[in-house]
């Protein structure tokens, strides 16, 4: 059996000069092809964890680390940045900071050229990925002429071109409007479906996460307070409320029904599950 995509064991981290540990005794296993959504209030350590998974800590940011982090079986804490980029892709919040080159095509090929790939392979990979994300018509345009959502798609495409096995995304939609957000989330949906890629994403859109995630991880004050399938995590009403994460709207409806004395076998977390449940109760349907 192949090793898990990500394996975190007894991970502790403290920033240089900080008094408190930012991450406290984290343990998590992400299997290959799994789609994990990480949630939690601001300052709970999500971004710090993302930095560790992508090697930014300890390569660019220093601090005290205890424990082990293995990505695809490799000890990420001991790898150099150039060894990490072929396996792990990272996209973060601000699309504007992730634009380096003056045209869409040049942006995508930038990473491939850094890896020293042959020109033909660069051309082939760039064409494939730009077409996949739907920016082929705009390949010669300046990234600054694209919408913010398209720029974030471009940032994702530039990382995807490197063909990483694990994609880490830190709140990729937090600076986008509704339309841009939808485009980015749809792309992540397609990546999961088409490439069975291992994806770890920090995202606060609960309804979307409930639909797509294989695993939900909720963090609070540097610790994992809930790890499991969306149905397992969001059915724990007390926990979800305690850590300040809003449960899916449809689950909230069912919590209220329970409060009013309606007996429900389980709490649905998606609209589809709710429809099935109600249909079963009503005993009807076509």
């Amino acid at each position: 059996m192949s090793e898990p995509a990500v394996e975190i064991k007894d991970l502790w981290f403290k920033y240089l000069l900080a008094e408190d540990w930012t991450l406290k005794n984290l343990n998590l296993t992400v299997e290959r092809g799994e789609f994990v959504v990480l949630m939690g209030p601001s300052g709970c350590g999500k971004s710090t964890l993302m930095y560790i998974l992508t090697g930014i800590i300890p390569n660019m940011i220093k601090g005290t680390i205890k424990g082990t982090v293995r990505v695809l079986g490799k000890d990420i804490l001991r790898l150099q940045p150039q060894e990490i980029v072929r396996d792990i892709g990272f996209v973060f919040q601000n699309p504007d900071s992730q634009i380096i080159m003056p045209s869409v095509l040049e942006e995508v090929i930038f990473g491939l050229e850094n890896l020293g790939l042959p020109p033909d392979e660069i051309r082939e990979r760039a064409e494939e990925i730009i077409k996949y994300v739907g920016l082929w018509e705009k390949k010669d345009l300046s990234p600054w002429s694209l919408s913010a959502g398209e720029r974030q798609i471009l940032a994702i495409a530039s990382v995807l071109a490197l063909r990483p096995k694990v994609m880490i995304l830190d709140e990729p939609t937090s600076m986008l409007d509704h339309r841009g957000t939808k485009r980015v989330l749809d792309l992540l949906d397609r990546l999961k479906r088409d490439y069975q890629m291992t994806i770890v994403v920090v995202e606060h859109r609960i309804e979307w996460a409930s639909e797509i995630a294989d695993k939900i991880v909720i963090m609070d004050k540097g610790e994992f307070v809930a790890v499991g399938k969306p149905s397992e995590v969001f059915s724990n009403y007390e926990l979800v409320k305690r850590v300040g994460v809003r449960p899916p709207m449809i689950s909230e409806v069912f919590y209220k029904l329970i409060d009013r004395g309606v007996r429900v076998d389980r709490i649905p977390v998606t609209a589809r599950e709710a429809v099935e449940l109600i249909k079963g109760r009503l005993g009807g349907g076509r």
């Binding site: 930014i56 660019m60 980029v85 900071s97």
Partner: protein
């Protein structure tokens, strides 16, 4: 609207016009089609010729004319040319006045500037214009280089010349930061204005004081952008090893001819200056 604000706005729009990618100006011209290495050589040659002619504007002007011909051939926008000329005129007057004052007693007097109590002599004028071209020519040559070399090719040019490509890239990144900085500056000014801070107050003391609420957030924003850019470079494998290029530079016969013509022109100017040639003969012994 006051003139300074108006000019600042025009300047910002010119920066925006530059395609938000530093100074590069997209056009289909004979200069654009030249290999970037020729254009880099052009810059170095023009710089050397400007140094050689720094005491003689009557020769330095030919270097300047050659660069203006380059700008015209490159079909650079009128706005860009105007910015260069506007700065040049102001700088020209100041340089001439300063250098002419040092050489009042040398050469033949040409005219007298009453308000400055200054006698401008032919030698003063020659040195003044020479010093003016010493500064303006390299700036114009640099403008021509960065306006016609794609940022993509800039890194490759350094790499091909066996110069550290990271240095070339740093140069490119700093140019890229220019329009981003202006964009942030505009946003911060708008935000601070909406909070009632008179950024363009007619009172100069107030204006100086109001630079603080503009520049402090600007510096913080730039530091944040720089940090995020550094992360992006890391996750895209920058510096991972030997780079390859999808569109490698291609040296053609046209480039060889251009290089030979440019080298012949500028080396002739340098050689002529070294043997003491000038297009102007002045009479010694005045006063």
């Amino acid at each position: 609207m006051r003139k300074s604000v108006k000019f600042a706005k025009i300047y910002l729009s010119v920066v925006e016009l530059s395609g938000e990618i530093g100074l590069y100006y997209e056009a289909d011209s004979v200069i654009h089609r030249l290999d970037p290495r020729v254009k880099l050589a052009w810059f170095v040659l023009a710089l050397a010729a400007s140094i050689a002619t720094q005491f003689d504007g009557s020769v330095g002007v030919f270097v300047f004319i050659s660069l203006i011909v380059g700008i015209v051939l490159a079909r650079l926008s009128l706005a860009r040319l105007l910015i260069t000329i506007t700065y040049s005129v102001v700088f020209f007057i100041v340089t001439i006045l300063v250098w002419a004052s040092f050489y009042q007693n040398v050469g033949r007097p040409l005219f007298y500037i009453g308000f400055a109590n200054l006698v401008v002599t032919d030698v003063g004028l020659l040195v003044g214009t020479g010093k003016f071209f010493l500064i303006v020519n390299p700036i114009t040559a640099m403008l021509l280089f960065f306006s016609t070399v794609k940022p993509y090719d800039l890194v490759q040019t350094f790499d091909k010349l066996r110069l550290p490509y990271k240095a070339g890239f740093t140069l490119f990144l700093s140019l890229r930061l220019l329009p981003v900085t202006f964009k942030e500056l505009k946003e911060i000014i708008d935000v601070q204005k909406s909070r009632g801070i008179e950024v363009d107050s007619p009172n100069p003391v107030k204006r100086i004081a109001y630079t603080i609420p503009v520049f402090v957030p600007l510096i913080i924003r730039i530091m944040s952008i720089t940090w995020e850019t550094a992360i992006t470079l890391m996750v895209r494998g920058f510096g991972a090893g030997k780079r390859s290029y999808m569109k490698p530079l291609n040296w053609s016969r046209r480039d060889t001819i251009a290089l030979v013509v440019l080298a012949a022109f500028y080396i002739s100017i340098i050689a002529l200056k070294l043997v003491g040639f000038s297009t102007y003969t002045y009479v010694e012994g005045w006063r």
